[in-house]
Amino acid sequence: MNFPKSIEDLIVQFMKYPGVGRKTAERFVFHTINKMDKESVKELSETLTQLKERINYCKVCNNLTDKEVCHICSNEKRDQSIILIVESPKDVFSIEDTSQYKGLYHVLNGVLSPADGIGPEELNLKTLWDRVAEKKVKEIIIATSSTQEGETTALYIKRVLQDTDLTVSRIGYGVPVGLNLEYADQLTLSKAIENRKKF
């Protein structure tokens, strides 16, 4: 079956998105044709263009923002003495959703993995060293994933900061909340036992 070229072109565009295969892309296109009027299509394309024009990385923490400095870094009510380090901007939004954390963030934009060509220079580490050199910061919380790469990245940051008087901590890993122990795999359980804390 051959679609008219303009339909086919848009299908190919939608398929560039993660999780979108050909069938889904076709549904998007027909939805656009059948269910959306000219006005909303124009609105969509303008929103897309604006997104790329306006979104950039926060000068301080590398989080996504449409200003020069993100709303977290520029909020003076937040605790300026703690920095929580995450892999990606998405992690910032996840942690913000909990409303538990009141300090600042630092986004690495990845994890160390020489096998994928990612060394310390490829991550936003230099800006981190500059930030901690200013005396305001007292504590660092490392919240990279508990994958091999995330663990290595955490160890690296800890090692570089070991001779400073900063308090460096790592978020706890183990059994998910609400999970019955019998469903946890061996590795998770042994990590949870390793990371036990006084009760």
Binding site: L112, S113, P114, A115, G119, P120, Q148, E151, T152, L155, Y156, R159, V160, Q186, L187
Partner: protein, 363 residues
């Protein structure tokens, strides 16, 4: 663990074949190319859900759409049915009527220990062969070993790629190398302790198995030859300069070796072909004992063309030993003329001709 019944349909050269195994020694006698090894391969497939020598699609009989392996496995207290269906680009495994979704959930249902003619390279061949042999046995007993091994391997890959990068750097940042080295050492220590443990166990078993089969007074022992036998972390760190120069991790568990020692002398220098064969067979029999201690089930022993290069006495001793063991053994051979009749009487004999298997009437 015993195979009770096996039925092959469109598998390799077989059209439709039903086999009722005996609980002890099963001897399949036939000429070269008659289909003996294909039968062993089918049983091996039941164990790992893959062939040891080819892709799945080559297992389907020429010009047919699918092939099927069906079996009933008897354990001490229960039994279960396994059905494997192979089509051009799919395999389906059905265990007691339920389709297996994840292959890793299936592997381990049928345990086999096998001797293939190419295993003769174990003693003479490169260390890689011996590492693979030992790794796959430990992995068969304890799945955690495979997890530790793959953990080690991915740290090794990261470290090697980092070393390549650092070796081009005028002012290399060694902090990350320190970290990978420490992690590699930690993972490597676990591997070494698994391997040590296994070698101790196999040597204990060999003490009783080898002298009988070999019919000689020598002491046969495995020797673990770790590439680093002092502190892993310390040695890896001492080797920085060398590693950066050769651009790879030059030592560690990935470079370990094992010696087959006869009275403390490396067998590859002194043992004849027949003696080497007996050493490997003794090791496999020792492995079946270790697996039994671990899993409380004895694996099925597959021996392909095992008699060649063995003298008459050793052939008889081997079959006698297997008759007396609690193992189900499946042996292929071109001839049994050297085996005493009373020893043959305890085994179940099959004749294989042009991919057609017939049980011997006598029994």
């Amino acid at each position: 663990m015993k195979l009770n019944q096996l039925s092959l349909y469109n598998y390799r050269g077989y059209n439709k074949q039903d086999i009722a195994f005996g609980k002890g020694v099963n001897l399949f006698i036939g000429d070269n190319g008659s289909g003996k090894t294909n039968l062993l391969e089918a049983i091996y497939f039941l164990s790992l859900a893959k062939s040891y020598k080819t892709e799945d699609s080559n297992l389907i009989k020429f010009n047919q759409d699918f092939s099927r392996i069906l079996t009933t496995v008897d354990l001490i207290d229960k039994s279960y049915d396994i059905k494997i269906i192979l089509s051009k680009n799919k395999k389906k495994i059905i265990l007691d009527g339920r389709e297996i979704q994840k292959l890793s959930d299936y592997i381990g249902q049928v345990n086999v220990v096998s001797f293939l003619p190419e295993d003769m390279n174990l003693i003479k061949g490169p260390p890689k062969n011996r590492r693979y042999f030992i790794d796959s046995i430990i992995g068969q007993m304890d799945r955690n070993y495979l997890i530790e091994l793959s953990n080690y391997k991915s740290f090794l890959k990261q470290r090697n790629d980092l070393i390549k990068k650092l070796s081009e750097d005028k002012n290399p940042d060694m902090t990350l190398l320190d970290i990978y080295t420490e992690q590699l050492a930690k993972a490597g220590e676990k591997i070494i302790s698994y391997r040590n443990n296994f070698i101790n166990k196999i040597n204990l078993e060999l003490k009783s198995i080898y002298p009988y089969l070999a019919n000689n007074p020598y002491l046969f022992e495995f020797k673990y030859l770790p590439s680093i036998d002092s502190s892993l972390e310390g040695t890896l760190k001492e080797n920085y300069r060398k590693d950066l120069f050769v651009r790879t991790t030059t030592s560690g568990p990935h470079r370990d070796d094992y010696g087959f020692l006869m009275d403390d002398i490396d067998a590859k220098d002194i043992a004849s072909q027949g003696e080497q064969r007996i050493m490997i067979l003794s090791s496999l029999l020792a492995v079946t004992e270790i697996i039994f201690h671990y899993k409380k089930q004895r694996p099925i022993l597959l021996l392909d063309d095992v008699f060649s290069e063995l003298d008459t006495t050793r052939q008889n001793k081997l079959i006698h030993f297997l008759n007396k063991s609690h193992l189900q053994t499946i042996i292929t051979t071109t001839t049994t003329t050297n085996i005493n009749q009373e020893i043959l009487d305890d085994a179940k004999i099959f004749n294989v001709k042009n991919h057609f298997i017939r049980g011997n009437k006598h029994e």
